[in-house]
Symmetry: C2
Subunit: 87 residues, 2 copies
C-alpha cells in the first residue's frame, strides 16, 4: 500500500527563530496588526510504500529522527493518509 | 479572539524541487526504500487577532497572497483554530 505523508518540522519552543522574528517585525508596517508568535518551519511531503499504516508510521518516525529533523532543536509532527489504490 | 494559524507553503505541481529530488535520491542508499514524490515546502505558524474565524481567514489569505507565498510557483494551505480565551 502507498501512504501519503506530510511531516511538519518546527523549531522547539525556546529556540530562537530569526526568520519568524523578522516576519513578525515587518508585518505591522505592512498593514497587518495583531499577528504574533510567528515561527517558520519546514514541511516535507512524500509517499511511502508499506504493508499497513503502523509500518508506514514507524518508517516515517525513523526517517524523521535520523534525517529530516535535528531532534536537539526541532520537533516534528506527522500526518499519514492511505492513498486509494488505482485498479 | 485569538486564532492559531498554520500555513503550509508548497511548490505547485510541475515546479522543479531540487531539494526534494536530492532527498529522494539519497534515501535508498540510506536504507529507506519505497519513499517517493518528495516535495519540500515551508510551514509558518502564527497567531492572529480577529473578531471571528471568517475575518481571521480573510486576513491570513491576504497575508499568504501578498507576502508568505509566491503565487506564481507556490500553493498554500491554511488551517485555523480558535485559541480558548484565558480568563
Amino acid at each position: 500500500m502507498t501512504f501519503e505523508v506530510l511531516v511538519n518540522v518546527s523549531l522547539r519552543p525556546g529556540i530562537a527563530d530569526p526568520q519568524g522574528a523578522t516576519i513578525e517585525r515587518a508585518l505591522p508596517a505592512l498593514g497587518f496588526a495583531g499577528v504574533g508568535h510567528v515561527r517558520v518551519g519546514k514541511s516535507i511531503a512524500f509517499t511511502v510504500d508499506a504493508d499497513d499504516e503502523a509500518a508506514a508510521r514507524s518508517t516515517v518516525e525513523d526517517l524523521c529522527h535520523r534525517f529530516l529533523t535535528n531532534p536537539v532543536i526541532e520537533d516534528s509532527s506527522i500526518s499519514i493518509a492511505a492513498v486509494a489504490p488505482v485498479d
